[in-house]
Amino acid sequence: MRRVLIAGGVLVIGCAVIGAAGDPDVDQLGVLVFLMAVVVLHDAVFLPLVLVAGAVISRVVPEGRRATVRAAGVVCLAVTVVALPLVLGFGRTGDNPTVLPRSYPIGLVVIVALVAGVAVVCRKGIERSRARRRGRPPG
């Protein structure tokens, strides 16, 4: 079964390469450049920055709140990645106001603020329930 999967995968990749090479709509060099660029940007720039941010959180945030800050950070980061091309707004054209009709910077700020607010409320709730449990005698 595993061999079938691997052989099938190699076959599909072969078809993809041959198909892309024979498709007049494909700029093969452009696709190759973009494939390599996204890996290099992700592995050599984006992820190291994320790891640095994680290390800063470990250093700056008190231990009890670290998990909450990290979780809120992951959610906000993922939303920001999705929002970035919209916030930059290079896709807007003068003659078509129906493309990117919203104010995306404001939308992103609102979502980040909501995520932070929910994180604070959840943290408070967890702390309170823990305190209550500790206050109660066991049994």
């Binding site: 595993r2 599909v12 700029d27 696709v31 494939l35 890996v39 992700h42 592995d43 992951v74 003659d95």
Partner: protein
Amino acid sequence: MVRHLGARVNRVLGWLDEPIGPFRAGAFPSRLRSARLTSLLGVALAAAFGICLLTGVLSHLIQQPPGWFRWPSRPVGLYRVTQGVHVATGLASVPLLGVKLWSVYPRLFSWPPLRGVRHAAQRLSIAALVAAALFQVISGLLNIAHWYAPMPFFFTAGHYWVAWLLTGALLIHIGVKAPVVREALRRPGTPDSDRRQLLLTVGAAAAVITVATVGQTVRPLAAVSLLAPRRPGTGPQGLPVNRTAAAAGVRDTALDPDYRLILSGPGRTLRLSLADLEALPQHTAVLPIACVEGWSATGTWSGVRLRDLAGLLGADPARCEAVAESLQAAGRYRTSVVAGAHLDDRLTLVALRLGGEPLALDHGYPARLIAPNRPGVLQTKWLGRITVRSVR
């Protein structure tokens, strides 16, 4: 001099012997990474990519149908749902892919970097997998934001072929890793609140992204989808536009008072003015414009049934297909083919009105095609000619 160089070479070789920086053992201290976490994320990501592949290939088949492929005209909103799911799933996979790659990042720096041919082939297939996955997610994001400058290729074709590259690399990956995943998921996982919290976080991120964008096709959520690239209800006559009349270069021909829709069939050719079209029996259909970019919006269209026009030519709609041509001089989507099921459908219209008013110029004035269960790019605007031809 020679000795100096020798010392330098020795130092470099020393580096190669001894892992440095991220290659050191313990360079990545997080205890959250585990085979179980990676396996769970991997299974979820494979499912998400599977959904994207199916819905994406479906759209490709509908737009460039091979001989064996038949696409029905009902249910009316099926295409809209598949493409809404395609984009929503792709967007929700952003946090999945991000955390999955984070969880295996230390393996990029495994030491020694290569241990023979087998290991090299495996690493190459992983490189292809990671590159293709990032390519698909990022190019998709850029496409729904209409930001084409960073992509040095034609998006549609690149996204299509790299989808197959991703599929192949993913099959290899599943084949290679199946025992590891099975082992990691079989053992009852040590109860680990940190891992549970990270998985919950990924789920929360996917949920926030979905709510923030899916309003581009799920209308009740339009108000809260702050990051939706389109907004149903926004645009001329309440509908978004992909290609404007100005961009298509049809302003003058579309507004020409001498406009005629040329209808040609096997035996005869008719030239119908807008008044001629309005004098024919008018019908109304409530149909969505559904874009491959994941947005959709419903309109109330009225005009002449395409099958009635085929009847004027003496053609049997069930045994024919129609080629709709736009007034556009050029462009990838200048023409579209309306095959049997759609040509014979009573909801397929040459629409003259939207919401009771004459079509806005950007929606295809004086006449456009609108059919159920079809991609927006095939709903040809600014119709100039319709050719009905029989098929075997």
